[in-house]
């Protein structure tokens, strides 16, 4: 645990944090709203007191109530990993700014998060499905997507395998992408 890092984060980002800073083992966790992602990641990447140049991981999480995008960044200035959780994305239309302007290598990871969760990364030039076929319509890692042999867990609906249940109303997923990328 890096106490100094905690103080620095608290001082720099006190106005955008939506929860307390948590530290456990070698991880420091901050929570922000989706609107502040670009600003916070740019500060962590560029400012000399942080210099978190290494994007270790980017993934989506479906908590069942809201969606999250979780970034792990590393640096040579601190032994800790910083976990930035962009929290509170609405499940019917999750949107978050892309970080490809800092890390071009995040492009495929964002495509993966879009493919698995349907999270729209605004500013990603190539947001299309990466693993699933192009005509696939659902998002497999969402919590309301049940495996065929896992029907006992579903809420009295039986198997809903490969069924489209989560796209925003009146919009095919492809339309959503085109709106996101054209604006």
């Amino acid at each position: 645990m890096d106490r100094a890092l905690r103080r620095r984060l608290d001082g720099r980002f006190s106005d955008v944090l939506t929860g307390p800073i948590r530290q456990r083992h070698d991880e420091t966790e901050i929570r922000i709203g989706p609107a502040d992602v670009a600003q916070v990641m740019r500060a962590l990447h560029d400012e000399p007191e942080f210099r978190f140049k290494f994007l270790a991981d980017l993934c989506g999480v479906d908590t069942g109530r809201v969606m999250q995008v979780v970034y792990h960044v590393g640096s040579d200035t601190s032994p800790d990993w910083i976990r930035v959780i962009a929290d509170g994305l609405p499940r019917d239309d999750p949107r978050v700014p892309s970080v490809t302007f800092l890390w071009k290598g995040a492009e495929w990871q964002e495509r993966e998060a879009y493919d698995m969760f349907g999270i729209i990364f605004e500013g990603n030039r190539d947001l299309r499905r990466i693993y699933m076929p192009p005509d696939y319509t659902s998002f497999p890692l969402r919590k309301d997507f049940f495996l065929a042999d896992d029907a006992s867990r579903s809420p009295a609906m039986g198997v809903r395998h490969l069924e489209q249940v989560h796209a925003p109303r009146n919009a095919a997923p492809d339309d959503v992408v085109r709106q996101a990328t054209s604006s």
Partner: protein, 409 residues
């Protein structure tokens, strides 16, 4: 006589109405649906004198099942679009529906060349969730077997890379070394490739006589054998001139592309997870983080060769400092960690293997993210290839050393 087509009948190859093109399935590069993104529209629009060629998904140099659509002008690559997903098995979803012990088994086949690293990351993440203290002997055994696996993986890298460039000898020589290590690890883990050896809180079984005697025999000639094998390529003028200055990535670009592992260190960035964020007993061991400044294919090759030498150093220290004691912590059979989140990264032969696990208090992970370095590293091909020759695509792709099992998850 009219030939009324029966609605259920399929056109056969003998049918004269079926053209030869339909029989062999001609490659249609442009997808049969409207472009989904700006980038896709731009890529699938041909400029003056440009054409598409297709590599894969079944091609020996794609190291698995990868399809790459190349846009070329003459012999030069203008742009390329890798198409993934042919091996996608949805492992993250499967892990959410398995308990903590079962989830580790799913991660093995993702990385079928260095599977110990792929299981190491989730094991550490689960141990963080459970606050388990791993016995020191188990940690040493993990480092010892892990470094053996790294040597094995880098030896295979040399073989594959030479094979992609047209040299058959190194892979045959490499298999001699690899087989000794594989047999050695099979002696202690019971498996030849998908070891499934690390457990939450330790390892499955102590080192045995079979393993130790094989290891001793291998260590006695490992260095000299390796140097002889590397001399095949290091002093081969055709190989060196082909690789030097090809696929250059500078350090800024490498960080921007999220490269990790040998591919990152070959550009001069001394980032090795074992140093800034040490796990296991690496802080107690003496080894160098090797870097090279050039960032080309030759640097990526030579850096991996240096890493083999460092790994042999670490194995030697492990054997001398291995303590006695238990090899696994006492844990209940059914694990229910308290709700929380844990992230663990390990430095593997291809880069940073990582797992982000979320526990909700039940016996199954609520979310288990598996980060594979091959997936991230493979993007760099699209960045460095434009302007190079078509034949160099294989060399650049081989030097990045992707494993498609991990890329497609």
């Amino acid at each position: 006589m009219t030939t009324a087509q029966h609605p259920g009948s399929h056109a056969s190859a003998d049918d004269p109405r079926v053209t030869l093109d339909e029989q062999i399935g001609v490659f249609e590069p442009i997808p049969p649906y409207p472009p989904r993104t700006e980038r896709e529209a731009e890529f699938y629009t041909l400029g003056d004198g440009e054409m598409f060629i297709n590599i894969g998904p079944q091609h020996p140099s794609t190291h698995g099942v990868l399809r790459v659509v190349l846009k070329i002008r003459g012999e030069q690559v203008v742009d390329l679009d890798p198409v993934l997903g042919y091996l996608h098995r949805g492992v993250e979803k499967l892990c959410e529906n398995a308990d903590y012990h079962q989830a580790i088994c799913y991660t093995d086949p993702l990385e079928y060349v260095s599977s110990l690293f792929m299981e190491w990351a989730p094991v550490i993440a689960f141990e963080k969730l459970l606050d388990v203290q791993v016995p020191r002997r188990a940690e040493y055994i993990r480092v010892l077997t892990g470094e053996l696996n790294r040597v094995m993986s880098h030896i295979m890298f040399v073989g594959w890379m030479a094979l992609d460039l047209g040299g058959l000898t190194p892979i045959l020589w490499g298999f001699i070394e690899r087989d000794e290590i594989v047999e050695m690890l099979a002696g202690v883990t019971g498996q030849r490739m998908l070891f499934n050896y690390y457990r939450i809180g330790g390892v499955n079984g102590d080192l045995n006589h079979d393993f130790m005697s094989r290891l001793g025999r291998w260590m006695s000639h490992a260095t000299s054998q390796l140097e002889a094998e590397l001399a095949l390529l290091n002093e081969n003028e055709i190989f060196v001139r082909r690789m030097r200055g090809l696929g250059v990535v500078d350090s800024e670009t490498a960080l921007r592309m999220c490269l990790s592992g040998p591919n990152l260190r070959a550009t001069g960035v001394p980032f090795d997870v074992r140093r800034p964020d040490p796990y296991s007993v690496y802080p107690e061991l003496d080894f160098d983080v090797v870097t090279r400044a050039e960032g080309d294919c030759l640097a990526r090759y030579l850096l991996r060769m240096d890493e083999i030498r460092q790994s042999i150093r670490i194995i030697d220290q492990c054997l001398h400092e291995m303590p006695d004691g238990p090899v696994i912590a006492k844990l209940p059979r059914l694990l229910r960690p308290r709700p929380g989140r844990a992230y663990a990264a390990v430095e593997g032969p291809r880069g940073q293997y990582a797992t982000y696990a979320i526990s909700d208090g039940t016996d199954q992970p609520f979310r288990m993210r598996i980060h594979d370095p091959s997936f991230v590293n493979l993007q760099t091909v699209g960045l460095v290839m434009p302007g190079n020759l078509v034949a160099d695509t294989m060399a650049v792709m081989a030097s990045l050393d992707p494993i498609m099992g991990g890329v497609d998850k």
